[in-house]
C-alpha cells in the first residue's frame, strides 16, 4: 500500500461553509491561537496537521464553541457558518452544536445502550415524533457509520462493551444522528488499531458526500489519504492552507516543508 497516495481531489462545489477571520484564542495568559484565517469548504474533507500543542484542537473547538466550556478560554475574531457569525449573541451554542457535530480523540460512548447512544441527540433536540422515526434515524446513522451490520442484533447492549474501533464508529453514528452540516473530528483514529483506522478513514470519505468534514490528525499519511484540503499549524499560527496535493508535494512555506519531511515535529 502506498501510504502517501493522494486521494482524488474532486472537490465538489467549492462554496465556503465556514469562514474564520482573525481568530485569536487565549487560555488565561497563553496566546494559543494567533490570527487564523480559514475558509472551510462544503462537502470536502479538510485536514489540520501540525506538531502537538500547535493549536489544532483549539481551533477545531472554536468551530462548535466547545471552548465556551473551558472557563479560562477567550475567543476573538469572527467565524461565519453559512454567513452567520456563530459567536453572535443571538446564536445559541446548544443549537450550533447540533449543526456542527464533533467526534473526539478517545471514543466516549455514554454508559447507555447502543441504541440510546445514537438516539441521544435526536431525543434532546426533539427531531422525531414517534418511536418509528427514531428507530429509522438510529438505523440510518449506524449504517452511515458502517456499524449497522455488526450491532443490529444487539442494539440494547451497552455501547461501552464494543471494541475501540466500534466505539469510535458508534460515536460517529451518534454525531451523524443529529443531521449536522459540519462534522469535526479530533484525531479520531489515534486510539484505534490499523484495521479500525482504515474503516474509519473509508467512512470519512463517504461522509464527505453530505457534510463538510474537518479532521485533526497527527498522521500526515492519514491527511494525505483522506483530505482534499490541508491546513498546517505551527506554534499557534496557521502557516499554510491549500489543496492537499500541493501542500504535500509543493509546500510554499519552509516550515511546512520541514514538518512534512520530518524535520520538525
Amino acid at each position: 500500500m502506498n501510504d502517501m497516495r493522494i486521494a482524488e481531489r474532486t472537490v465538489g462545489t467549492n462554496a465556503a461553509k465556514i469562514s474564520a477571520r482573525g481568530v485569536q484564542v487565549y487560555y488565561g495568559e497563553t496566546h494559543a491561537l494567533k490570527d487564523v484565517d480559514v475558509d472551510i469548504l462544503d462537502r470536502t474533507v479538510t485536514a489540520f496537521i501540525g506538531p502537538s500543542g500547535c493549536g489544532k484542537s483549539t481551533f477545531l473547538r472554536c468551530l462548535n464553541r466547545m471552548n465556551d466550556t473551558v472557563a479560562i478560554a477567550r475567543v476573538e475574531g469572527t467565524i461565519l457558518l453559512d454567513g452567520q457569525d456563530i459567536y453572535d449573541k443571538r446564536i445559541d451554542p446548544v443549537q450550533l452544536r447540533a449543526k456542527v457535530g464533533m467526534v473526539f480523540q478517545k471514543p466516549n460512548p455514554f454508559p447507555k445502550s447502543i441504541y440510546d447512544n445514537v438516539a441521544y441527540g435526536p431525543k434532546i433536540h426533539g427531531l422525531t415524533r414517534n418511536k418509528g422515526e427514531l428507530d429509522e434515524i438510529v438505523e440510518s446513522s449506524l449504517r452511515k457509520a458502517a456499524l449497522w451490520n455488526e450491532v443490529k442484533g444487539r442494539l440494547n447492549d451497552p455501547g461501552t462493551g464494543l471494541s475501540g474501533g466500534q466505539q469510535q464508529r458508534l460515536c460517529i453514528a451518534r454525531a451523524v444522528a443529529t443531521s449536522p452540516e459540519v462534522l469535526l473530528m479530533d484525531e479520531p483514529c489515534s486510539a484505534l488499531d490499523p484495521i479500525a483506522t482504515a474503516q474509519v478513514e473509508e467512512l470519512i470519505d463517504e461522509l464527505r458526500e453530505n457534510y463538510a468534514v474537518v479532521i485533526v490528525t497527527h498522521s500526515m499519511q492519514q491527511a494525505a489519504r483522506v483530505s482534499q484540503r490541508t491546513a498546517f499549524f505551527h506554534l499557534g499560527n496557521l502557516v499554510e492552507y491549500g489543496e492537499t496535493g500541493q501542500i504535500f508535494t509543493n509546500p510554499k512555506d519552509t516550515r511546512t516543508e520541514s514538518y512534512i519531511t520530518g524535520r520538525i515535529g
Binding site: 466550556t69 450550533l96 466516549n108 441521544y120 460515536c171
Partner: protein, 469 residues
C-alpha cells in the same frame, strides 16, 4: 519516704527508654561506620551502608521496646501478687476477691503517701514492701534493657559483611511491624464483636430473643430491690428501632436533596469563584462537633417547632423526631455533598464533552449522562450516610425523646437505639441485670444493621469505581 520511691520509679522508667533509644542510635552509627569502612576497603556491599545502620537500629529498638512495654504492663500484677503472699498468714482467708482487691488498693494508697486514718501496722509494712518491690522492679528493668541492648548491638554489629542482606533484613522487620499493627486493628474488632455477642447471649438468657426481636413494648425499668413496686420490664426493640428509622428518614429527606443539589451545582454550574468559597464552607459544616448540632436542635429547632404547633394548633411534641432528624440531616449534608461531588468529578470529562458537543445543555448533560454514570457512587454515599444517621448518638441524645413509642409520625416524640443504649448505661447499673445487658443487645443489633448497610454501600461503590478505571 514513700513519694521519693515513686520518683525513683519514674526516673528509672525514663532512663530505660532513653537508654534503649541511645543504644538503637548507637547501633545505627556503629553498623553504618562498619559498612562504610568495608566499602572504603574496596568491598562491594550487597546493601547500602544506610540499610546496615537501619537494620541494627531496628534490631536493638524493637525487642527492647516490646520488653519495656510488657514489663510496665505486667509488673503491677506481679508485684501485687508478691505483696499479697507476703501478708501475715491468714489475713485474706475467707475473703471474696472484691475484698482482697480493696486491701490491695488500700496498700497502694498508703504506698502512694495518701494515708487515711490509722491503718493497721501490717498494712504499713506491706506498703513498704510494695515500694521496695517497685524500686527493685524499676532497677531490674533498666538492667535487663541495658543487657539486652548490648547483646543485640554486638550481634547485629557482627553481621556486617559484604554479603549480608541488610536491605531485606530491614524490610522484613518493618514488614513484621506493619503486620502487627494491622492485626491489632483486627483483633480489637474481633474482641469488641465477641464481647457484644457474649453479653447479648447472656441477655437472651434472661429475656427470650423473640420477645426482644418482635416485642412491641420497650420499658426497660427493672425493680432494683426485690420489694420495689415497678412495672416488669419489657424489652421489645421494635419501637426503638422504628424510632431510629423515623429519625433516619427525616434526616435523609433533608440531607439527600440538599446534598445532591449542592454537589451538582458546585460541580457543574458554579463559577470557580463561588466554588472556591462554598466548598470550604461545606467542609466547615462537616467539622462542626455533633454536640453543637445538638444545641442547635434543642435550643433553636425544637422551640420553633413547638411555637409553630401552638400557633397552628397541630399536636407537636416537645422532643419531635422532626427536630432531631432534620438537624441530623443538616449534619449529613456535607457528607453526601462531598461524596456526590467526588463521584461526579470522577465521571470522565470526555462524557461531559460528548454530551455537550451533541448540543445538550448543561442541565441535560447532568441529568442524562453524568447522573446515570455517577448514580452507583451516589447511592453508595447515601447508604453510608444512612448508616451514620442510624448510629448518630449525640444529636438524638440531646434532642430526641426517651419514651419508646411505636409511631411513624415525625411530629411525635420517638427514641432511638443509641439514645436507649446511653440511658441504659447511665446511672446505677449492675452488670448482671437485663437492663444493662439490653444495651449490649441493642448495640449488637445496631452493629449488624450498620455493618450490613456499609458492606452493601462499599460493594456498590467498588463496582462503580471499576467502570472508569
Amino acid at each position: 519516704m514513700f513519694p521519693q520511691a515513686a520518683d525513683w520509679v519514674r526516673s528509672m522508667t525514663t532512663f530505660a527508654f532513653a537508654l534503649l533509644f541511645l543504644a538503637s542510635v548507637a547501633g545505627y552509627l556503629l553498623n553504618l561506620r562498619a559498612a562504610r569502612q568495608l566499602q572504603g576497603s574496596g568491598a562491594r556491599l550487597h546493601s547500602l551502608a544506610g540499610f546496615h545502620g537501619g537494620f541494627s537500629f531496628l534490631v536493638v529498638l524493637v525487642p527492647g521496646f516490646i520488653v519495656l512495654i510488657l514489663w510496665l504492663l505486667l509488673q503491677g500484677a506481679v508485684i501485687n501478687a508478691l505483696v499479697l503472699r507476703s501478708l501475715p498468714p491468714g489475713t485474706t482467708d475467707g475473703l471474696d476477691p472484691g475484698a482482697v482487691q480493696l486491701i490491695v488498693a488500700e496498700i497502694r494508697q498508703i504506698a502512694g503517701g495518701r494515708i487515711f486514718g490509722t491503718p493497721e501496722q501490717w498494712k504499713i509494712d506491706a506498703a513498704a514492701r510494695l515500694t521496695a518491690l517497685r524500686d527493685t522492679s524499676a532497677t531490674l528493668m533498666v538492667v535487663v534493657v541495658g543487657v539486652m541492648s548490648a547483646v543485640l548491638l554486638i550481634l547485629s554489629r557482627m553481621r556486617v559483611s559484604p554479603d549480608f542482606r541488610a536491605r531485606q533484613g530491614t524490610e522484613a522487620i518493618v514488614n513484621g511491624l506493619m503486620i502487627f499493627c494491622s492485626t491489632v486493628a483486627i483483633f480489637t474488632t474481633i474482641g469488641i464483636i465477641a464481647s457484644l455477642v457474649v453479653e447479648t447471649w447472656r441477655f437472651f438468657g434472661m429475656v427470650p430473643w423473640y420477645d426482644f426481636l418482635f416485642g412491641l413494648r420497650w420499658e426497660p425499668q427493672m425493680p432494683i430491690r426485690a420489694d420495689q413496686i415497678a412495672a416488669v420490664g419489657a424489652f421489645g426493640w421494635v419501637p426503638v428501632f422504628v424510632g431510629t428509622l423515623v429519625i433516619t428518614v427525616v434526616a435523609m429527606t433533608v440531607a439527600v436533596p440538599v446534598g445532591l443539589f449542592s454537589a451538582i451545582y458546585l460541580n457543574e454550574f458554579a463559577s470557580p469563584r463561588f466554588r472556591a468559597v462554598a466548598k470550604p464552607l461545606l467542609e466547615i459544616l462537616a467539622g462542626v462537633p455533633t454536640v453543637v448540632y445538638g444545641f442547635f436542635a434543642v435550643l433553636v429547632i425544637a422551640p420553633a417547632l413547638r411555637d409553630f404547633g401552638v400557633w397552628s394548633g397541630l399536636p407537636i411534641a416537645s422532643n419531635t423526631a422532626l427536630a432531631a432528624g432534620s438537624v441530623t440531616g443538616v449534619m449529613l449534608i456535607p457528607f453526601i455533598s462531598s461524596f456526590a461531588d467526588d463521584t461526579l468529578s470522577a465521571v470522565p470529562r470526555a462524557l461531559r464533552d460528548g454530551a455537550l458537543a451533541l448540543g445538550a445543555t448543561r442541565g441535560e448533560t447532568v441529568i442524562t449522562v453524568l447522573f446515570p454514570a455517577a448514580i452507583p457512587g451516589i447511592v453508595g454515599g447515601i447508604l453510608l450516610a444512612v448508616s451514620r444517621a442510624i448510629g448518630e448518638t449525640m444529636i438524638v441524645v440531646m434532642a430526641a425523646g426517651l419514651i419508646a413509642k411505636l409511631t411513624i409520625n415525625p411530629l411525635d416524640s420517638v427514641t432511638t437505639v443509641t439514645v436507649q443504649i446511653v440511658t441504659l448505661l447511665i446511672g446505677d447499673t449492675a452488670f448482671d441485670s437485663p437492663k444493662t445487658l439490653a444495651a449490649f443487645a441493642l448495640g449488637l443489633m445496631l452493629f449488624v444493621v450498620t455493618l450490613g448497610i456499609n458492606v452493601l454501600a462499599l460493594r456498590i461503590v467498588r463496582k462503580y469505581r471499576e467502570i472508569y478505571d
